[in-house]
Amino acid sequence: MLTLKNIKFIAQENGEKVILNDISFHFEAGKNYVITGANGCGKSTLAKIIMGILPANTGQIYLGNKEITGLNTTERARMGVGFAFQQPVRFKGLTARDLLEQASGGKITTAQACEYLSIVGLCAREYLDRELDNTLSGGELKRIEIASVLARGCPLNIFDEPEAGIDIWSFNNLVDIFKKSINKNCTNIIISHQEKLFASADEIILIADGKIAMHGTPAEVLPNIQGFGNCNKLRRKNG
């Protein structure tokens, strides 16, 4: 499904900092992956590199057999990569219906749009024509963001901290959504710190010190995950 080869990302912040260093991994089709790690370890950076929002300094990315390293975000999206932002964007004037229509390529019916909103726990009648502006709470906006990714129906979906800002009752529902969305042709990559998402994962990937420190099933990874919380030492190039 998705293959990362030797991905390196260096941030320019008061000098150069190596955020991701030689990340290689193969994501199989039909699996639910959770990427975790301490704050600032580069999880969201890796997600954005896969989506083409950030460029890696070195390395290659393959979607199936096709190299997508040089493709931009639009091209990757059109090839079937979906992305839900950690902090969804607000739009004055655009409604939830507009966003879902764009997500589906303009093919969505009102009934389908309502269904996607219902799936993420929003009353469609109340939210369908709401503007995505500051009248919505962060949690409401987050659920609409997730609905927009579901509406795309992509074979590869990346969710960056989907639990952030979502209440516990709605979150339990989201865990079920991620499980149900998986099939042999669909892969989810979820950036998360949330134990319930760990438990639902087929595989957990732990990033520390810019590398994949550990990966495996929840049973393999979770007992050994303690001790990685504070080890995210950012490597400074040139000392």
């Binding site: 931009n72 004037g93 966003l99 764009q102 997500a103 927009s148």
Partner: protein, 305 residues
């Protein structure tokens, strides 16, 4: 009417045929079609060019269409339309002006509309402006709207200027009595070297009167826009001004919302923002498969909707 007339009428007033209800269609300074309706009388003024529209007390769910089209090259049309709306009415009034000009001469329209809205009446007033024809031909529109709202009257005023108007200066004045409310929603798009200025002055004179002045505009190319808005709180009232502008290319926008009070019980607020399309908005739409250009179009269309 020819093909150009039909196109203009369709775009400014949504008319594809003779409208139901009362109407007056003005072309090149003259009425080319008029009908009154039960409770709604339209008559020509005798002193100046224009019409009086008189709506009787209690007229409900009726509409009045008074579009203006200018297709004669070099014509500068000036019209005075006065609306006398009785008590307890609920009406839709659709105005607007479309200009077609392919010549080097300037074509223009100055529409001066005065509304007297009776007690507890509800009016939705929609005014769209459009210019078509040669991009270099001058098409000038200067609308003036004066609104007098009696006790409990409500007016929703939607003004739209989206395409092709070279220069426009819009002036709107309103005074509100007790419990009256006014919602103004303005949408403007300018491009190339176009210029648009709007000037709102709202007097909240009545107790519990309310006004919302909301302007959304997009300025492209080297166009310039000026937005001035003043809300005066002269009683226990609520007033809010909101002006958001997206600027692109080398366009410029000057926005000046102003609040003044003569009553300590007035509650007046404003917010204003000028800026480019946010980069993260474009990126979000790119993750849905849109190109940058497509994303910008979707954002602008939604913003001005």
């Amino acid at each position: 009417m020819d093909k150009i007339d039909s196109e203009l009428l369709a775009q400014i007033a949504g008319l594809h045929d003779v409208p139901q209800g009362a109407y007056n269609i003005r072309k090149n300074g003259k009425s080319i079609g008029r009908a009154s309706a039960q409770g709604i009388e339209i008559e020509s003024k005798t002193d100046v060019s224009g019409i009086n529209i008189r709506i009787a007390d209690g007229v409900q769910n009726q509409s009045v269409h008074i579009p203006v089209i200018v297709t004669a090259e070099g014509l500068n049309d000036l019209v005075y339309n006065d609306f006398y709306i009785g008590k307890n009415c609920d009406v839709l009034i659709v105005a607007g002006c479309g200009i077609h000009n392919n010549s080097e001469a300037t074509s223009g329209h100055d529409g001066i509309h005065t509304f007297y809205v009776g007690e507890n009446s509800r009016v939705k007033y929609v005014e769209k402006h459009l210019g078509i024809g040669s991009a270099t031909a001058e098409k000038i529109l200067n609308p003036t709207t004066v609104l007098h709202l009696e006790k409990g009257a409500q007016v929703i005023m939607e003004t739209v200027q989206l395409v092709g108007v070279s220069r426009s200066v819009r002036k709107t004045e309103a005074d509100l009595a007790d419990d009256a409310s006014l919602d103004i929603r303005e949408s403007i798009l300018t491009d190339n070297d176009q210029f648009a200025a709007t000037d709102f002055v709202v007097q909240l004179n009545g107790k519990s009167s309310r006004a919302n002045v909301i302007s959304r505009s997009v300025a492209k190319g080297t166009s310039k826009q000026i937005f001035n808005s003043v809300v005066d709180g002269n009683n226990a009232c609520f007033g809010h001004i909101e002006c958001d502008a997206i600027v692109m290319d080398k366009a410029q926008v000057a926005s000046t919302p102003a609040l003044r009070n003569t009553s300590v019980d007035a509650n007046l607020t404003h917010e204003a923002a000028i800026g480019k399309i946010a980069g993260e908005q474009i990126v979000k739409l790119q993750t849905l498969g849109l190109t940058q250009e497509e994303a910008e179009q979707v954002i602008i269309k939604g913003f001005l909707k």
